[in-house]
């Protein structure tokens, strides 16, 4: 037993060294794994980070590289352990129970979670359901979202549509509808009032109008229509005569 642990430790260390960019040599507590088997062949879960966060800028969508280092790896392991701890009726999972393997340049890797008491890795299904429950927390820890932080074989659940009780468009429609109806009513009513006023008092107006119009047509022979529009009392001929007189 001891010899196999040691083996894993060594190989594990080698793995880490090759992919970690800067120095920090990780001390992993190797836990008992099924002898002869590398932890990643179990393929408990694969996680891939699409490091391409498309950031909309004035110049257009640009890929911003997500800085990934050992601290981020630690955070990731902590989040996975947290998700496993939230599963009820389970022994407490420690960070050291989460193992990452096959880390590539792409920041995509496999990880397994080992069972603390028994000497085996947990089945993928359990881990997947645990992560699914806490997907939002994991995303937020990294300031990423479902598209940029991808867990293969864990489909993302889409947010339920938020339907307000009354659709917003009906509210705005109602407001504008009422305004238009009120304005129409006002115009119609004022029009009816004007009609009534005209019907009540035309008798006085008509006589004076007739007299004025008669005098104008008699005196000038200029057609009534344009004069009428200008109020019926301005006589072009008189105006030009005034202008001919030199001002004092």
């Amino acid at each position: 037993m001891l010899t196999s642990c040691m083996e894993f430790k060594v190989t594990h260390q080698i793995l880490w060294r090759s992919s970690v960019p800067t120095g920090l040599r990780k001390k992993t507590r190797a836990h008992v794994i099924a002898p002869g088997k590398s932890p990643c062949s179990d393929s408990a879960a694969t996680m891939r980070q699409n490091n391409s966060i498309t950031q909309e800028t004035q110049e257009g969508p640009r890929l911003r590289k997500y800085a990934w280092d050992t601290n981020e790896e630690y955070l990731f392991k902590a989040m996975v352990a947290f998700s496993m701890r939230k599963v009820p009726n389970r022994e407490t999972t420690e960070i050291s129970h989460v193992l990452l393997c096959n880390v590539t340049q792409r920041v995509s890797f496999w990880f397994v979670v080992t069972d603390p008491s028994k000497n085996h890795t947990l089945p993928a299904v359990e881990i997947q359901s645990a992560i699914r429950m806490n997907r939002n927390r994991i995303n937020n820890a990294f300031f990423l979202n479902d598209q940029t932080l991808e867990f293969l074989r864990i489909p993302s659940t889409l947010a339920p549509p938020t339907d307000p009780p009354v659709p917003i468009w009906i509210i705005i429609f109602g407001v504008i509808f009422c305004v238009v109806i009120v304005a129409t009513m006002l115009l119609i009513l004022s029009g009816i009032q004007q009609h009534r006023r005209k019907n009540e008092g035309p008798s006085e107006m008509e006589d004076t109008e007739d007299k004025c119009e008669n005098t104008i047509t008699i005196e000038n022979g200029i057609p009534c229509d344009p004069l009428d529009m200008k109020g019926g009392h301005i006589n072009d001929a008189f105006m030009t005569e005034d202008e001919r007189l030199t001002p004092l």
């Binding site: 257009g60 969508p61 920041v107 889409l158 429609f173 304005a183 115009l187």
Partner: protein
């Protein structure tokens, strides 16, 4: 004395009314399409030629007739010759058809406007499907903007035969649109004159804002460069000239009787020649202005889609080959693809079918016109802008102003002859006649809110006005020049405005314009006859795209009825007048 004819308060109101009527949705959604199809910058050449040869003269003619006769279209043509009141009746019928379907566009603009106050915009995301495992299937196959238009707004049926029920949401918006139009025309020129200040000027404000926004968008210059690069060989294409002539013709709104109606409320001494030139020039320059805005928006949308496509390919390759992030960029994509194909051939072949060929040209090439441009392409571009709610509200508000402005002209064309006729106006006050017309139009317009409504809308849009208008304007021009007499008309105009008529107008009226209209008419007739059966685009929900189908026989019959009902007015009314006169002469003594 007779009650004085209502007048525009100032000549400015008349000019604004004409601009508001002429500058409509066609300037925004038809001209950019034509520009793109027929050679970009070089399309301006036939466009300006047609403006000078056809647009300005015919516009001046209509305004002069209206101002001289001081009556709506029916009365004006009856004054010119009693046998020609059929022309006026045909104008009213065509205007009636137009106002029936045109206000549906305003209803759709209202719908989109009301939905613009949400975050995120409803057409920017696909709704999730029933069991929340993915997005709605139809939305996945099409785009979210197409889905919102075809499914949420229209709830379109797969073909014109399946009528479906009246959709209550667009129906409510249609009722609101008609109420708004009624409010604006309620008091005649008194109310219309004030409303046109807004409907004429606000679209320009919004277009200016959009111009500034559009030109500063990423990728706008791609669109502008692509569209405006002149393709001189298109000048030799007769279709370019025909489409330029048609666009000028319909864009100015000739033949509907609206211009005659507006001009009839002028003072007789109004200088309508100057106004005709101003209105036609403004209309054309607005078209060009709007197409600059549209092309910059196109460019933005095309560049955005192209870059998204590239990013998807980059992501796909990065994930499949576990490359380092940032290694693949747009510039080295082709090189790396070649390298990967040679280094990992088997894996590359697996991934190859999923790699799309991204091309900026093909994105720019998608030419759209009509409601597709306004409600699908523009909304797609708007959803990618920052503060998209604001841009969306501004845009649909502008569409609404343009639409209402044109509706004012359409309803004026119907109402002026009705209020002029003593038989009707002695029974009902003006408000009641307007209300009745609006109510009837609204009731019939409910057809366009059914599930197959958009297909009927296309029928009306394509066939209700096209041939009839050409015939109406042809008869108008020939009537004024040859029946009434060009000399007589010239002396009338001189008495009215005090200006001598330039030889240019006379030459155009008497010779060039009628010939042009005849050739357009012949072309359209031959086009209809040669294409044989008429077809339409139907939305296929299972595929998420448009498919072409044939019209059923009863739809063809209705198309024929639409065209016939307006064109047949001219000979039928002439015949009727002839018969009535013969009967009258038979009754009274001859020579009296």
């Amino acid at each position: 004395m007779e009650k004085a004819r209502p007048l525009w308060a100032t000549p400015l109101q008349f000019v604004f009314a004409c601009i508001s009527y002429a500058v409509g949705l066609g300037n925004v959604w038809r001209f950019p399409y034509l520009c793109q199809m027929y050679g970009g910058g070089s399309f301006l050449v036939p466009y300006i030629v047609m403006l000078i040869v056809e647009g300005m003269p015919l516009l001046y003619l209509e305004l002069a007739v209206g101002q001289r006769m001081r009556q709506g279209s029916i009365g004006a043509w009856r004054t010119i010759s009693p046998y020609l009141s059929g022309v006026g009746v045909a104008s009213v019928v065509v205007s009636f058809f137009l106002s029936m379907y045109y206000n549906v566009i305003n209803a759709w603009a209202f719908w989109y406007l009301f939905h613009s106050f949400q975050d995120p915009l409803p057409w920017s995301v696909c709704p999730v499907n029933g069991n929340r495992t993915g997005y709605d299937e139809e939305c996945e196959k099409a785009t979210s903007t197409q889905y919102f238009w075809y499914r949420k707004t229209l709830n379109i049926s797969p073909s014109i035969q399946e009528n479906g029920a009246v959709q209550w949401e667009p129906a409510l918006c249609l009722i609101l649109a008609w109420l708004l139009v009624y409010l604006c025309i309620l008091r005649g020129t008194e109310s219309t004159g004030k409303v046109v200040y807004f409907t004429a000027s606000l679209p320009y404000c919004v277009l200016l804002i959009y111009l500034i926004r559009g030109l500063t968008l990423h990728g706008a210059t791609n669109g502008l460069a692509y569209m405006f690069t002149p393709k001189m060989e298109q000048l030799a294409n007769p279709k370019a000239w025909i489409n330029a002539a048609t666009q000028i013709f319909f864009s100015l709104g000739l033949g509907f009787g609206s211009l005659i109606a507006f001009a009839s409320y002028n003072e007789p001494s109004n200088d309508c020649q100057k106004h005709a030139i101003i209105v036609s020039l403004l209309n054309s320059s607005t078209s060009i202005f709007a197409s600059v805005v549209t092309f910059s928006i196109y460019g933005f949308k095309a560049t955005f889609n192209y870059e998204s496509c590239l990013n998807k390919v980059i992501l796909l390759l990065t994930n499949s080959f576990d490359l380092e992030d940032g290694f693949l960029t747009a510039s080295n994509l082709e090189q790396v693809k070649g390298y990967l194909a040679s280094a990992y051939p088997s894996k590359y072949n697996e991934v190859f079918p999923q790699i799309k060929n991204c091309s900026l040209e093909s994105e720019l090439d998608t030419a759209v016109q009509g409601t597709g441009l306004a409600f699908i392409v523009y909304t797609e571009a708007i959803k990618n802008m920052e503060v998209s709610q604001l841009w969306s509200v501004l845009y649909f508000f502008m569409l609404l102003m343009l639409g209402i402005g044109s509706m004012l002209g359409n309803t004026a064309a119907i109402l002026t002859p009705l209020t002029d006729s003593k038989a009707i106006s002695s029974y009902l006050p003006k408000e009641a006649i307007s209300g009745l017309v609006c109510f009837i139009n609204c009731a019939i317009g409910m057809v366009f809110t059914t599930e197959a409504g958009n297909y009927w809308f296309d029928i009306f849009n394509d066939y209700a006005a096209t041939l009839s208008l050409l015939l109406i304007v042809l008869v108008e021009t020939v009537a004024v020049c040859y029946l009434y007499g060009l000399r007589r008309f010239e002396s009338d105009l001189r008495a009215m405005t005090g200006r001598k008529l330039n030889w240019y107008w006379k030459a155009m009226w008497a010779g060039v314009s009628p010939l042009l209209i005849v050739s357009l008419f012949v072309f359209y007739l031959s086009d209809y006859i040669m294409t044989g059966t008429l077809r339409y685009q139907a939305w296929d929900a299972s595929q998420g795209q448009l498919v072409t189908k044939d019209y059923p026989p009863y739809a063809l019959a209705i198309i024929g009825l639409l065209v016939a009902s307006s064109t047949m007015c001219i000979p039928l009314v002439a015949l009727g007048t002839f018969i009535t006169r013969r009967l009258k002469r038979g009754d009274t003594a001859p020579g009296a």
